[in-house]
């Protein structure tokens, strides 16, 4: 008979069984037994953050940059409520994650105990699933289920709430090798007849367009997407979540589409006759006004693992429910076997049109400015890192410039909060990225407003020697708010000016890092080079940028894709 062990030990053993090497967390009363077990072993490394939101963002960045499930551990009550922003961020972007939270003892649940919240209730709308474990006998199986649900189908965060007494109770530890659930069987293989129909439609296209989203990254299908695009000689655009799914430096890439997408990508979306949507969900920031989108006729093929993403905002002609990787493989196989070729003459005409749109040079900016242009900083960053860095971002103008000007050729290199738009995401996510990729160059592109939302993590970076490069595009404004106020609110800059900013150089130094302030365009390249030379140091670069710069192109809210404001 095997020995009985406590729920706390079971929790850690489960993580070990799942091959989890690194978790992010913050201790507290309800999770003390779990922390005690963490202390007694050395297989699972724990990273102590300074705020639970950062623990979840770090687990998120870890997952996005590595294809592993991110794991966070927080205590009950405020531990959980602090984590909610991070959980909702991961949920909106479909990131595989398991969050383990402590709970007050089962006997105290519902009695408004100290540090008690209804964790399952609070997190219900922003998790893929959650569990409250009331019996230690169910603990191992529940954690197994959590990892299974988080990482299969359309991924997402799963929370396991464990009352303190359950971590003390003992039982035999058996970790199930496999789990089947009658109520959860995600579809993987696409329907063969639908794929056949899609192939036929693709070959009949005269003005085709491939529109690829985060699903390509999540299912590790970037090389298949690239192969498909190249055998067909079709243009390809990536969503904010899908950057890196198709090499941005390739001539068939039209760059990002959507609210701040390129002119050529948005025009091609609007005027194509066959649209192949791959792991994308036609959200409001991508196609703008759906009515306007349908002013033009086009046939749509939509490949997605989540049936509820299909025909949600846009009616499609050929839906294919399945894992993007699997469906693309099948589609490529079919197209290769097909004797018919794409319509080369029509394609030539289409590319001619696209090249005309490209000539509009929609991302141009004043390169001779005497004030630092934020776009220029990102272009230089791209060149200095040879396009090979992991880039995280916060939310706002800097995020859009990063997406426009850093050309991502590889998947899992661009880490940002696309769906929820969480300011404060960038630096903690970068910590997770660096821990998942110890040898990788990791830069966080941020602004002086966003960075202050999780600035305390500079301390975590010091403790674990995480040599992040922080690119602070400091325009003394919440830039995107300021831009909207300039365009749509009569230049009334209500509360968007960032007053009383800290001296970021001194701040970085006080945390034990290196800080550099850059005020002249001529110093940008030198500072970046110097920073990346300091391989083992976190360098906080405070770039004083042009306050008046706006992100172009822009599709104003409620407008159609071809109704862009251009520079």
């Amino acid at each position: 008979m095997s020995v009985e062990i406590t729920g706390a030990e079971i929790t850690i053993r489960c993580l070990q069984e799942e091959g989890v090497q690194c978790i992010f967390g913050y201790p507290g009363g309800a999770v003390l037994f779990i922390y005690d077990e963490l202390f007694k072993q050395d297989k699972v490394r724990h990273i102590l953050v300074r705020h639970e939101q950062a623990a979840v963002h770090a687990a998120d960045g870890y997952a996005r940059s590595s294809d592993k499930v991110g794991v966070a551990l927080v205590t009950s009550g405020p531990g959980v409520t602090n984590a909610v922003t991070g959980i909702a961020t991961a949920y909106m972007d479909s990131i595989p994650m398991v969050v383990i939270s402590g709970q007050v003892p089962t006997s105290a649940i519902g009695l408004d105990a100290f540090q008690e919240v209804d964790t399952v209730g609070i997190t219900r709308p922003c998790v893929k699933h959650n569990f409250l474990v009331k019996d230690v006998a169910e603990l191992a199986q529940t954690i197994k289920k959590a990892f299974f649900i988080a990482s299969t189908g359309r991924p997402g965060p799963v929370l396991v709430d464990i009352p303190k007494d359950v971590t003390q109770q003992k039982t035999k530890f058996v970790y199930p090798e496999k789990i089947t659930m009658r109520s959860y069987n995600p579809v993987i293989k696409g329907h063969a007849r639908q794929i056949k129909k899609a192939a036929e439609l693709i070959l009949s296209a005269k003005r085709p367009m491939i529109y690829a989203g985060g699903g390509v990254i999540l299912s590790d299908a970037a090389s298949q997407l690239t192969e498909l695009t190249q055998i067909l000689n079709f243009p390809c655009t990536n969503t904010l979540m899908g950057l890196g799914g198709y090499p941005a430096t390739d001539k068939q890439s039209l760059g990002m589409l959507g609210m701040h997408g390129t002119y050529e990508a948005n025009m091609a979306m609007q005027y194509c006759d066959v649209l192949v949507a791959v792991g994308a969900r036609f959200d409001d920031r991508v196609i703008g006004n759906p009515k306007h989108f349908f002013n033009e006729n086009r046939k749509i093929i939509h490949i997605d693992i989540d049936p509820s993403s299909i025909s949600k905002r846009v009616k499609v002609d050929i839906p294919i429910v399945g894992d993007v990787l699997d469906v693309l493989k099948e589609l490529i196989k079919l197209l290769k076997a097909e004797k018919k070729e794409p319509d080369h003459t029509a394609l030539k005409e289409w590319w001619k049109q696209i090249d005309l749109w490209r000539e509009r040079d929609c991302l141009k900016y004043d390169r001779s400015s005497s004030i630092i242009k934020p776009q220029m900083v990102i272009e230089k960053l791209f060149h200095i890192t040879k396009g090979d860095a992991f880039i995280t971002s916060d939310v706002g103008q800097h995020q859009m410039w990063a997406a426009q000007f850093y050309k991502f050729d590889k998947p899992r290199r661009w880490i940002n909060s696309g769906g929820l738009g969480t300011m404060g995401f960038g630096m903690p996510a970068a910590m997770g990225v660096q821990l998942a990729n110890p040898k990788g160059k990791v830069a966080c592109i941020t602004g002086e407003a966003s960075i202050q939302m999780c600035i305390q993590e500079l301390s975590t970076c010091k403790q674990y020697k995480l040599p992040l490069k922080i690119i602070n595009l400091n325009n003394r404004y919440m830039g995107m708010v300021r831009q909207w106020q300039e365009f749509f609110h009569g230049n009334r800059y209500a509360e968007s000016y960032m007053d009383a900013l800290p001296d970021f150089v001194k701040l970085a130094e006080s945390y034990g890092h290196v800080g550099i302030k850059i005020e002249k365009p001529g110093d940008v390249e030198g500072a970046l080079k110097e920073a990346f030379k300091m391989k083992d140091k976190l360098v906080f670069m405070d770039f004083i940028t042009d306050q008046t710069e706006n992100v172009f192109p822009m599709v104003p809210g409620g407008k159609g894709l071809s109704e862009m404001i251009l520079v």
Partner: protein, 155 residues
């Protein structure tokens, strides 16, 4: 759906979070105690009903979902209604109850409590037939539905 704590709140939460309407909802364990069966009545365009179905299907605890309107089905709702019954009304209400195939299940010298089963519209019709001021209290279960014939919903 799985007969588990919290499953119902996931369904209810989904409707409020996504702005769908719940007209009625009735739920109880089945002959297999690990499963509950829920009949949910909602109103919306075909697109909305399609989305509702897909979103419900995504809930981990939902085992299977069917739109009963896709085939022939039977639905019944139970209503208990307390009416004022004095004087000549006593006989009138008794007759009305018989016409609607209901039963009087509780009696006082001033009131009847009537049990009535049928489609929701039949229950509505009964309430319209009774003088409005006579209705003291009503309680309805919401519709329960099942497919016609030998076709069964199996897990």
């Amino acid at each position: 759906m799985e007969n588990e704590a919290g499953a119902l709140s996931r369904v209810a939460g989904l409707f409020s979070a996504r702005g769908y309407n719940i007209e009625s909802l009735s739920v109880a364990p089945t002959e297999d105690p690990t499963l509950s069966r829920m009949t949910l009545v909602t109103i919306g365009s075909d697109e909305i009903v399609e989305q509702v179905t897909k979103q419900l299907n995504k809930l981990i605890e939902v085992v299977k979902i069917i739109d009963l309107n896709d085939g022939n089905h039977i639905e019944r709702e139970l209503m208990l209604v307390k009416v004022r019954a004095v004087g000549a009304d006593r006989e009138e209400i008794k007759r009305l109850t018989e016409i609607f195939r209901g039963c009087i299940i509780d009696v006082t010298d001033k009131s009847y409590t009537i049990e009535l089963t049928g489609t929701s519209s039949k229950l509505d019709a009964f309430l319209e037939a009774v003088e409005r001021s006579a209705v003291l209290e009503t309680v309805r279960t919401g519709a329960s539905g099942i497919g016609r014939g030998e076709w069964v919903l199996k897990v």
